[in-house]
C-alpha cells in the first residue's frame, strides 16, 4: 500500500511517499499557496504520483500536517466569535493571569482577547468545585443571549465556557445541544469537550480559539476531502495533531485547536521514530530553519509531551506574552535563533544574535532581497559553511560580498574587532543560545541529556548541530536521511491517536479501586469513540492511562503512566509508581505525604504504522562517482580558515567514513562536520558523526 505525507509549511509544501512493502520512496517539494493551501496540496499530490507512475487509487492514506490554524490566529483570520460564560465571570479573558512576564520593562503588552468583551455574555448557572449544582442552567437565557450575539453582533462561532465544567459538564453540554438545535448554522464549542482541565483562563482561551478557527478548518478539510475524492482517492485522510497523533477529519474539524504546530510536531516525531529504529532511547531533536527553530526531547523512545503551549506571542517570543493554551502537545523548545536572526550590538555593548529576525523576506543581507542587518546566515556564509552558488541546491545565489560589507560596517568597525571574529562570534553566540535553550528546557523537565544523541534537520540545523552538541557534551549527532522533508516523513510514522485529560482533584488515600477506575472509564469510552470514527476496530485500539499527581501541597504535577492492565488491580500500585517516578524526576527520596491526583488522562491509539527506514533514493548505481565535489576555505576554531573537503550527500554510500573538518552538502541544507570528529554513513544513509569530546 502507498502512503503519502503532505506537510504545509510557511514557504514550502513538502511531500513524502512510501510503499509499506519497502519498495518505493519519493519526495517532492513545491511552493506553498497561502491564499488557499489546498491548491499546492492537490497539485503536489498529482505531481508526485505522476512522477512515480502511481495511481491515486493505490494510495491508502494521505497524512496531512498544516500551519493553517496557527496562521489563522497570528493573522487574526478566524471568524467573529462570541462567548457564553458563567454569570459574574465575563471578564476572565481580560484579567488573564494577572502577572507580568517582564518585571523591569514597564511597557508591557499582551495580545487582545480573541473574543472582545462586548461579545461575551453571561448565563445564570453555577456548579461548585466538587460538581454540586448551586444554580440550575437558565435555558431561556442561553437561547436569548445566543440570538442577540447572532443577530446584533453577527457571530459565526460560539464558545460556551462555564466554571468547573471539567468536573461536571452537564450545564455546558446542555447549553451546547440547545444552541445546536436552535441555531444549526452556528459553530459551537464547549470547554469541557475541547479540553476539560482546571484553570478557567487557559481552558476558556483554548475554547475561544477552537471556536474562532473552527469554521475555516471545517471548510478547508471538507474541501480537501471533496477534491481528493474527485481525483479518485478512496483511502483515508488523516490530520496530524500537535501531540503527534493522527485524527480523522471528522474529529479534526471539531477540534482545530489540536492542529496547532502540527508540522514541527511531525519532525520531532520522526526523530523519535528514527531513535526506535536505531535503538537510541534518548534524543535531542533539533530543527533550525530560516525563520524558526524548534527543539524537543525524546526520553526512553517517547517524545516528551506537555499540555501547555502559547501562541501569538506579542513580545519577541517572550514566554508569557501570548495566549496560554491547554492542549496535548509535544513539548517543543522555543529556540530564539533562526537563519534570519539579526546580529547587533546590545545595550551592554556586546554582540547579540536575535531575537529579532529578518525572516525569509527580506531575510539575511546575502539573499539580496533588501535585508540590511547582518543575520546568522550571513555569518555562516562568510565562515565558508555555505556555498554561495549552491544554496537550495543552486536555485538561489548568495551575495557574499554584501554579507562581508554589513558585518564589517555594522559590527566589526564599531566593536573594533576583525570581520572573522565577528562572523565566528555570531555563529558561536547562536550555537550557545541554542545550547542554553536545550539546557534550560532539560533542567525544567529533569532530563539528563548527557549521553543522549542529537538529531539535526532543517536548513541550518546541520550547520550548527555539532557545535551545539559539543557545548552540551553530547557525543553523537545524526544527520538523518530525508532531512529536507523531515516533517512530511514524520506524518507517515505516526499512529491514529486521540487523548483526553480531565481535572479531578482527589487525594489517593481518600478513594478506593472502584472510584479510581471510574475516573478513567468515561475517558476511555470517549477517546476510543473518536478512533472508531476514523475506522479503527476495537481490537486495534490500545489504551494508555496516565495520572498527573503530586504530593499534597505541591503545585507541580508529575506524569505517572500506568502499566497496561486492569485498572482495579493497578490501583494498589499507584503510590509506588508515583514514588518511583518522583525520584526519577527530582532525584529526591520519597516523602511521607498524601498523594494528590489532579488530572486523569487517557491516550487511545491505533496500530503503529509500518515504517521502515531502509528506503533509498536511487543512489546505489552512483556509487562509483567520487562524492567529493572539491574544497573551499572553511573557518574552524582555533585553526582559522583551512582548505576543507566538500562532499555531495547524494553520492555518499553506506559505510563511507568522513573525517572532520568536512562539509557535506545536500539540496536543502549543509552538514558541518567539525575538526577532530568522524562521520560514518549508516545502512539507512543517515550520517552519524561522533564528536571528539569529554
Amino acid at each position: 500500500m502507498i502512503r503519502l505525507g503532505v506537510d504545509v509549511g510557511g514557504t514550502f509544501t513538502d511531500f513524502a511517499l512510501i510503499d509499506d512493502s519497502g519498495g518505493q520512496f519519493a519526495i517532492h517539494k513545491q511552493l506553498t499557496t497561502p491564499h488557499d493551501p489546498s491548491d499546492a496540496v492537490l497539485s503536489g499530490i498529482k505531481e508526485i504520483l505522476k512522477l512515480n507512475n502511481i495511481s491515486i487509487s493505490d494510495v491508502s492514506v494521505v497524512a496531512h500536517g498544516t500551519t493553517l490554524v496557527t496562521n489563522a490566529i497570528i493573522e487574526r483570520r478566524g471568524v467573529c466569535t462570541g462567548m457564553l460564560v458563567t454569570k459574574g465571570f465575563e471578564d476572565i479573558l481580560d484579567t488573564g493571569m494577572e502577572q507580568r512576564y517582564d518585571l523591569f520593562d514597564l511597557r508591557i503588552t499582551y495580545p487582545d482577547p480573541i473574543v472582545p468583551r462586548t461579545l461575551r455574555k453571561s448565563i445564570n448557572e453555577r456548579i461548585h468545585f466538587n460538581g454540586d449544582i448551586e444554580t440550575e442552567l437558565n435555558r431561556d437565557e442561553v437561547i436569548q443571549q445566543t440570538r442577540v450575539l447572532i443577530e446584533e453582533e453577527g457571530i459565526e462561532a460560539l464558545a460556551v465556557c462555564f466554571l468547573h465544567s471539567y468536573v461536571e459538564p452537564a450545564h455546558e453540554r446542555e447549553a451546547v445541544s440547545l444552541i445546536e438545535k436552535t441555531f444549526p448554522d452556528l459553530y459551537v464549542s464547549g470547554s469541557s469537550d475541547v479540553y476539560p482541565n482546571m484553570r478557567e483562563f487557559e481552558r476558556w482561551t483554548t475554547t475561544a480559539i477552537n471556536a474562532y478557527t473552527r469554521p475555516m478548518a471545517d471548510r478547508y478539510l471538507q474541501k480537501l476531502q471533496r477534491e481528493l475524492a474527485s481525483l479518485g482517492f478512496n483511502g483515508h485522510l488523516y490530520i496530524m495533531t500537535s501531540s503527534g497523533g493522527m485524527l480523522a477529519p471528522v474529529t479534526a474539524r471539531k477540534f482545530p485547536v489540536r492542529l496547532l504546530e502540527s508540522g514541527p510536531a511531525a519532525g520531532m516525531l520522526m526523530s523519535a521514530s528514527l531513535g526506535r529504529e536505531l535503538k537510541l532511547p534518548n534524543i535531542l531533536s533539533f530543527d533550525l530553519g530560516g525563520t524558526t527553530a524548534k527543539g524537543a526531547l525524546v526520553r526512553n523512545f517517547q517524545p516528551l509531551k506537555t499540555e501547555q503551549m502559547e501562541v501569538d506571542r506579542v513580545n519577541e517570543s517572550r514566554k508569557g506574552s501570548g495566549f496560554p493554551l491547554r492542549i496535548p502537545v509535544l513539548d517543543m523548545i522555543e529556540i530564539g535563533s533562526g537563519g534570519g536572526s539579526i546580529a547587533r550590538i546590545d545595550e551592554r555593548g556586546l554582540l547579540k544574535v536575535g531575537p529579532q529576525s529578518a525572516g525569509a523576506n527580506p531575510g539575511p543581507v546575502c539573499y539580496s532581497l533588501g535585508g540590511r542587518s547582518a543575520a546568522l546566515t550571513d555569518a555562516n556564509l562568510i565562515l565558508g559553511y555555505l556555498d554561495p552558488e549552491f544554496f537550495l541546491g543552486g536555485s538561489m545565489t548568495l551575495n557574499k560580498e554584501a554579507a562581508h560589507g554589513v558585518i564589517r560596517d555594522n559590527l566589526a568597525k564599531p566593536l573594533n574587532l576583525s570581520e572573522t571574529r565577528i562572523a565566528w562570534g555570531i555563529h558561536e553566540t547562536a550555537s550557545e543560545d541554542i545550547a542554553r535553550a536545550f539546557r534550560i528546557h532539560a533542567a525544567e523537565r529533569g532530563f539528563d541529556y548527557r549521553g543522549a544523541i542529537m538529531i539535526a534537520f532543517g536548513g541550518s540545523g546541520p550547520v550548527h548541530a555539532m557545535r551545539v552538541a559539543s557545548k552540551l557534551k553530547i557525543p553523537r549527532v545524526i544527520f538523518p536521511f530525508g532531512a529536507g522533508v523531515y516533517s512530511a516523513l514524520g506524518l507517515l510514522a505516526s499512529p491514529l491517536s486521540f487523548e483526553l485529560s480531565r481535572s479531578r482533584r482527589v487525594i489517593l488515600e481518600d478513594i478506593d479501586a472502584e472510584g479510581f477506575s471510574s475516573n478513567f472509564l468515561p475517558l476511555i469510552a470517549e477517546t476510543s469513540a473518536s478512533l472508531k470514527e476514523a475506522g479503527v476496530s476495537d481490537d486495534q485500539i490500545s489504551i494508555t492511562c496516565q495520572l498527573e499527581a503530586r504530593y499534597f501541597g505541591q503545585t507541580h504535577e508529575i506524569v505517572v503512566t500506568l502499566p497496561n492492565n486492569n485498572l482495579v488491580d493497578r490501583f494498589a500500585d499507584v503510590r509506588s509508581l508515583f514514588e518511583k517516578r518522583y525520584s526519577e524526576v527530582y532525584s529526591f527520596a520519597a516523602i511521607d505525604a498524601p498523594i494528590e491526583i489532579i488530572n486523569w488522562k487517557v491516550i487511545a491509539s491505533g496500530a503503529e504504522p509500518i515504517f521502515k527506514m531502509n528506503y533509498g533514493l536511487h543512489v546505489e548505481d552512483q556509487q562509483k562517482i567520487n562524492p567529493m565535489k572539491g574544497t573551499r576555505e572553511v573557518y574552524t576554531e582555533p585553526s582559522g580558515y583551512e582548505l576543507t573537503p566538500i562532499y555531495d550527500r547524494y553520492l555518499l554510500s553506506r559505510g563511507m567514513e568522513i573525517k572532520g573538518p568536512a562539509i557535506i552538502e545536500e539540496r536543502e541544507s549543509t552538514c558541518v562536520i567539525t575538526a577532530g570528529s568522524r562521520a560514518v554513513v549508516d545502512q539507512f544513509l543517515n550520517i552519524v558523526a561522533e564528536l571528539d569530546i569529554v
Partner: protein, 549 residues
C-alpha cells in the same frame, strides 16, 4: 579598573555572561520544580544568585522579583562574618531569615552554599537562593504584630548543613514552630538541593572555559553593566527633585519623602523627611528600601539587562536611621512590602518632568488576603488570595487593566482557589471608570466577591492600601479609583483581621492605576473604544474626558 576586563572581548564576554545567567535560571528551575508552596512555584517569590569569591553579585536569575535586588551581597557579608571563608567546607549550607541581615522580613529564607573547585579545592564563589516560606510561625503573614517577636521564628545565621550533612535539629526546630511543616520543610530542602545543583553547574562552566578565577569575569561583567547604566542615566535631565506622598499606615497617614539628585551619570536618592516607625508589621528595613530604589532606576534605564552589582554602583541610596524606610529592631517588619511598594511611585513622581517619557504613573497595586480556616474535607487551610488593581499608564501606553505592580503575584485561578479553600468566588469583574483618566489611561481595577462555603468560621487578614490615597497620575494625569473591602456589603477596615462566618461574603474592590497626561488630550477613538468595551461609562467620559457623543 578596566584592565582585567580586557581579556574578554565583545564576543566572549557576551557568551560567558549569558551562560552565567543561564546557570542561575537552571538553579531557579530546580528550585521551582521541587518546591512545595505555591508562593515559590506559581508566584515566583524567589531569587537565585551567583556571587564571586569577594562576595560580589555576578548573576541573578531572570525571574527574580525586584525585592531581592542587592540583598544577597549584604546577607553574604553577615554570613561570612560569622563563618569566615577559610573555615567553610564543601557541602556547608548556611541560612538565615533575619530581616536586617536578609531581605527585610522573616518569611524570606536566604540559603547560601560556598562553591569549591573540584580539582584544587579552592573557594571559587557562592550561590544563594532566597524564597518566601509558606509560614514561619508567630502571628502569621500580615501587619498584625507590634514587635518582631510576634512574627515568628527568627533564625540567626546558622549552618543548615555541615560538609553535606543536614542539621536535622534546625529542620525539627522549624517544623514545630510553623503551621505548615510539610511545605515549609519541603521548600527548605528544595533550597538546599538547588544550591547543590548550582554549585555543580558553576564548576562545570568554569572548567569548560578554563576560567581559574571567577573574579576577573565578574569584574568585566559588572564594569560593563555599570557603563551601560551610566550611559542611560545621561538621558535623565540633571537636577535635584523632591517628592512627598501620604500613605496609609495603620492608624494615621504617614509621609514618605524623597530627594532624587541626578548628576550626569549618577543618581543619589535620599528619604529624609519620611515619618517614623509604627508598632505594626509594616516597617521597612533599609535593605528593602534600597532594593526598591535600585529597581526603580533600573526600570528607567536598563530594564532589559541582566541584573548584577555593577548596575547598582551609579546609584546611591540613603535613609535616616529609624525612619519608616530604615526601620530598626525590634519594630516588626512582616508586611514591609505594604509600605515598600510605594517607593517606585515616590521616585517616579519626583522624576515626573526629568524623565517624562520613561516614568510610570503609580499602580493600583495588589491586594493580599490571608485566609485561615478548615476546608470542607477537614484539612486546615492557610493560604493567600492575590487580586490585582490596575497598572499605571506610561507616556504612549495605557496601563493594563488588572495587572500587578511593582510586585508580581499571579492571581490564583477561581477554579483552583475554590477547590483548595472550599470558598466560592461569586464574581470577578472589572470596574468601569476606576482607571485614572489621562491622555493615557490607567488600568482599571476589579471587584471580587468571595463567600465562606466551608461551613465553619474563617479568619481573613489583609493590609489593603489605596483606601484613602489613590494611585497618583503624573503630568496632568488623574489618580485611579480607591480600594475598598466589604463584608456582607458593609465597608470594613481593610487593615487587620476579620472573622468570616459561614455564608458571609467578602468583597475586594481593587484600586485603579494612575493616568499619564491631560485627559483632554486623549484621542477620541480611544475614548470611544473604552466606551464600547464598557471600561469607561458615558458619564465618566463626559466628566473625566469632556467627551460628548
Amino acid at each position: 579598573m578596566m584592565d582585567e576586563a580586557k581579556e574578554f572581548d565583545a564576543v566572549s564576554l557576551g557568551i560567558l555572561w549569558d551562560r552565567l545567567v543561564s546557570i542561575t535560571d537552571e538553579i531557579e528551575s530546580t528550585l521551582v520544580r521541587t518546591s512545595f508552596s505555591t508562593i515559590v512555584s506559581e508566584s515566583y517569590d524567589l531569587t537565585v544568585v551567583v556571587l564571586d569569591r569577594e562576595g560580589r553579585l555576578v548573576a541573578q536569575g531572570s525571574h527574580s522579583i525586584p525585592v531581592f535586588i542587592g540583598t544577597a551581597p549584604r546577607t553574604l557579608k553577615y554570613m561570612l562574618q560569622k563563618f569566615p571563608p577559610e573555615t567553610l567546607m564543601p557541602g556547608d549550607v548556611i541560612c538565615t531569615n533575619d530581616p536586617w541581615m536578609g531581605t527585610g522580613h522573616m518569611f524570606d529564607i536566604s540559603v547560601m552554599r560556598p562553591v569549591f573547585s573540584t580539582s584544587k579545592g579552592t573557594l571559587l564563589g557562592y550561590t544563594m537562593s532566597i524564597t518566601h516560606l509558606p509560614d514561619v510561625g508567630g502571628i502569621g503573614f500580615g501587619a498584625a504584630a507590634s514587635e518582631i517577636y510576634h512574627e515568628g521564628l527568627r533564625l540567626p545565621i546558622v549552618k543548615l548543613a555541615e560538609s553535606g550533612v543536614i542539621n536535622e535539629f534546625i529542620l525539627d526546630l522549624i517544623a514545630v514552630n510553623v503551621r505548615t511543616p510539610e511545605s515549609t520543610i519541603g521548600d527548605l530542602r528544595a533550597n538546599i538541593a538547588c544550591n547543590e545543583v548550582g554549585g555543580r553547574q558553576l564548576v562545570e562552566f568554569l572548567n569548560e572555559y578554563a576560567i581559574d578565577d571567577l573574579s576577573a569575569l565578574s569584574n568585566a561583567i559588572r564594569n560593563q553593566s555599570e557603563l551601560a547604566m551610566r550611559e542611560k542615566i545621561k538621558d535623565i535631565r540633571n537636577g535635584t527633585y523632591d517628592n512627598s506622598i501620604l500613605i496609609e499606615a495603620i492608624d494615621e497617614p504617614i509621609t514618605l519623602s524623597c530627594k532624587v539628585e541626578v548628576k550626569d551619570e549618577k543618581i543619589d536618592i535620599d528619604f529624609d523627611g519620611t515619618g517614623g516607625c509604627v508598632a505594626r508589621g509594616i516597617n521597612v528595613p533599609f535593605c528593602y528600601t534600597n532594593a526598591m530604589s535600585l529597581y526603580s532606576i533600573k526600570c528607567l534605564t536598563i530594564p532589559n539587562l541582566p541584573n548584577n552589582e555593577g548596575a547598582a554602583r551609579p546609584v546611591s541610596v540613603s535613609a535616616p536611621e529609624g525612619c519608616l524606610l530604615n526601620a530598626q529592631p525590634p519594630f516588626p517588619t512582616g508586611a514591609r512590602h505594604a509600605i515598600g511598594h510605594f517607593v517606585p511611585g515616590l521616585i517616579f513622581g519626583a522624576l515626573e518632568e526629568a524623565a517624562a517619557d520613561k516614568i510610570q504613573a503609580d499602580n493600583g497595586m495588589i491586594d493580599l488576603l490571608t485566609v485561615q480556616g478548615t476546608h470542607p474535607d477537614g484539612r486546615p487551610i492557610s493560604t493567600i488570595h492575590f487580586v490585582s488593581g490596575g497598572f499605571g499608564a506610561l507616556n504612549g501606553l495605557d496601563g493594563r487593566d488588572c495587572l500587578p505592580g511593582p510586585s508580581n503575584m499571579a492571581a490564583v485561578p477561581v477554579e483552583i482557589w475554590e477547590s483548595i479553600t472550599g470558598m466560592s468566588v461569586l464574581s470577578k469583574k472589572m470596574i468601569p471608570d476606576s482607571g485614572g483618566a489621562g491622555e493615557f489611561r490607567g488600568g482599571v481595577g476589579q471587584e471580587v466577591t468571595l463567600r465562606n462555603d466551608t461551613g465553619k468560621p474563617m479568619t481573613v487578614l489583609s493590609m489593603g492600601n489605596r483606601t484613602e490615597f489613590a494611585a497618583p497620575g503624573y503630568n496632568k494625569g488623574k489618580p485611579g479609583a480607591l480600594r475598598e473591602h466589604q463584608i456582607n456589603g458593609k465597608t470594613i477596615n481593610p487593615k487587620g483581621a476579620h472573622v468570616l462566618a459561614p455564608l458571609d461574603t467578602i468583597t475586594l474592590r481593587q484600586a485603579g492605576g494612575g493616568g499619564i497626561g491631560d485627559p483632554r488630550m486623549r484621542e477620541k477613538k480611544k475614548i470611544e473604544r473604552d466606551l464600547a468595551l464598557g471600561l469607561v461609562s458615558t458619564e465618566g467620559a463626559e466628566r473625566d474626558y469632556g467627551y460628548n457623543a
